[in-house]
């Protein structure tokens, strides 16, 4: 998915000048981007705009030359099922469901992955033994890995990861980044990672300072 951003600025807070706010830039398919910023500078807001949860901004965002401000609820639902996937900073897992149920809930919308594929991913990120444990009993780092796998269980052309590795140890980060890069390359998708500073040894096309 090609994204064209023209001078967007949130209306509910005044951000400091940056390479994102108020600028014109393109995010192209198959490329990887890092949005690097200190806490409170608007990373999550930027992701929420791209994910259609918020439209309180001036300026325009185009997905493949379509202005996203014209999208209906139904259109956003379709995008969230088939084109855009996200790992929220707050993860948004359902604590009362098990790790596997959380992933399956997303997967059943498109039946994109089989259960054995999902368990394979869980194994790679070292959380397979937690499959039947309730999400509320998992550590934050474990939950982050479940949320990453959940985000991969759907077709996408744009993958948004909002501080996805903040509570994960280096070995697992390297496992996760490997898995993510494989999936993104395979699908020729655009990857945008938001991070407080760490760049996680990924080969980015461009790093934006926010």
């Amino acid at each position: 998915m090609n994204i064209h951003i023209t001078s967007i600025i949130p209306t509910y807070f005044t951000p400091a000048s940056s390479e994102v706010w108020g600028n014109v830039f393109y995010l192209e398919s198959g490329e990887k981007y890092l949005v690097k910023a200190a806490s409170g500078s608007g990373k999550s807001s930027f992701f929420n705009f791209l994910y259609g949860l918020h439209n309180k901004y001036n300026g325009t965002i185009h997905f493949d030359s379509e202005d996203i401000s014209s999208f209906t609820e139904l259109k956003w639902i379709q995008l969230r099922r088939k084109k855009i996937s996200i790992v929220f900073q707050g993860l948004r897992l359902f604590p009362e469901l098990t790790a596997l149920e959380n992933i399956q809930l997303k997967n059943q919308l498109t039946n994109y992955k089989t259960e054995s594929e999902i368990l394979g991913y869980m194994k790679r990120l070292n959380v397979a033994e937690l499959a039947h444990k309730k999400a509320e009993t998992l550590s934050y780092g474990q939950q982050q890995r479940i949320a990453i796998i959940r985000a991969l269980c759907q077709p996408f052309e744009l993958l948004l990861l909002d501080e996805p590795f903040s509570h994960i140890d280096d070995v697992q980060i390297s496992n996760a980044t490997q898995l993510i890069t494989e999936e993104v390359t395979q699908r020729n998708a655009t990857l945008i990672i938001a991070s407080l500073g760490n760049s996680y040894n990924i080969d980015y096309t461009k790093i934006f300072l926010l």
Binding site: L53, H54, L74, F88, Q89
Partner: protein, 397 residues
């Protein structure tokens, strides 16, 4: 999976409360509806407590006591008067004679009057007369029949009569007008409890007045009024200020009737209030069920579940509860029908099972209306909750 997820937050006690309030409201509504249908006959008859109320007025005796056209017009203009009709009386002498086999014939002077048919408490196809007919139907006051049976017949050894026999008595009417005399055969059609007079069809009286005493004008000396409530002070004030007389007895009945109507209105008002409250409670309950799951609903929406998919879970819950409630309400109505039946019989209302068909249809209509309302309400609430910019993520910058 989405259903189990959303149902986790919903407790059985909450659903029970939902079902109870819903059953209560619907039950009251259906019972009231059923009672309304069953008591229809009470409201439509003219001779009953709940029917239209009539008042017969006249002027003081001993003076020129006919009502002038102006006076009638003034009475007609009063707000409390729904209908007005004058008593027409014959302008000729009447001698009636009755001959019963084996008994000496009885002969008496009497009079004839007529009122518009709409004020009569007797409905009969025989109540009509056309010029050329030799036989005239007569309505006499019920009091006369009682006087005869328990006074005259008892003391003279004459046979007692009832409404069926009374019709068989041949009566000969000799009418002596100022310019002509005529003879008619008559029979007693029925006895009226409402109007204390000897009545013949209006057409007969008009015709005979014209042919027998053409030079005499017909005067209205008594007026019958249809009013909502004869004991209303404005009615009494009007009558007193014009020095019109009325029967106290009429007022007694009307007071009872008015009191009964008042009680019915109060009961109905309370019923409607409870029904409205219970529907409000049910709606609040739905809101609560949705609100409890606010976070789950928003997160499902973020993941790509449409608000319709989410609303469907709530629709199913409310349809099931509504279905159960309407069934309970219907059974309750059925029970009430059998409980009320003995009392309604005392009021001379025939209770047939057919009213249940109406109640059943009403229950189905109510179910459909409420299903549509609850569906729309739930959809609206969930759409509001999942609309753009209202998400839980506003706290994440």
């Amino acid at each position: 999976m989405i259903r189990t997820l959303l149902n986790k937050q919903i407790h059985f006690s909450q659903l029970l409360f939902f079902a109870l309030t819903s059953s209560l409201g619907l039950g009251i509504l259906l019972v009231a509806f059923q009672l309304f249908i069953d008591t229809q006959s009470l409201f439509s008859t003219s001779n009953d407590l709940l029917g239209n109320q009539h008042l017969i007025i006249n002027k003081d005796l001993g003076r020129e006591n006919a009502f002038t056209p102006e006076e009638i017009a003034t009475i007609k203009e009063q707000k409390f008067v729904k209908k007005i009709g004058g008593f027409t009386h014959g302008t000729y002498r009447v001698v009636a004679s009755v001959s019963v086999a084996n008994y000496t014939s009885i002969s008496t002077e009497m009079f004839l009057e007529a009122v518009p048919d709409e004020f009569l408490d007797i409905q009969s196809t025989e109540w009509n007369w056309k010029p050329g007919n030799r036989e005239v139907p007569i309505i006499i006051p019920k009091n006369y029949v009682n006087l005869y049976n328990f006074g005259y017949a008892a003391s003279t050894g004459m046979p007692q009569i009832n409404e069926n026999i009374i019709r068989e008595i041949p009566i000969e009417l000799n009418l002596y007008g100022s310019s002509k005399r005529e003879k008619y055969n008559a029979y007693i059609l029925d006895a009226s409890e409402k109007i204390n007079s000897i009545l013949v069809p209006e057409s007969f009286l008009k015709y005979t007045n014209k042919t027998l005493s053409p030079e005499k004008t017909n005067k209205v000396s008594r007026i019958i009024l249809e009013v909502n409530n004869p004991s209303d002070p404005t009615v009494l004030d009007f009558l007193n200020s014009n020095n019109y007389k009325y029967l106290q007895n009429d007022l007694q009945t009307s007071k009872t009737s008015y009191f009964l109507q008042l009680i019915l209105i109060i009961v109905l008002g309370i019923g409607i209030l409870i029904t409205i409250l219970s529907i409000t409670l049910v709606v609040t309950n739905i809101n609560l069920l949705i609100l409890k799951n606010k976070q789950t609903i928003c997160q499902l929406h973020f993941l790509g579940f449409s608000s319709t998919q989410i609303a469907k879970v709530y629709h199913q819950i409310s349809y099931k509860i509504l279905g159960v409630s309407i069934l309970i309400a219907f059974l309750f109505t059925l029970l009430c029908k059998f409980l009320f039946a003995p009392y309604l019989v005392k009021l001379r209302i025939d209770t047939n099972l057919f009213s249940l068909v109406y109640v059943f249809v009403a229950a189905i209509i109510l179910f459909i209306v409420l299903v549509i309302y609850y569906t729309k309400h739930t959809n609206k609430k969930i759409q509001q909750m999942t609309a753009m910019n209202t998400s839980l993520l506003t706290s994440e910058i």
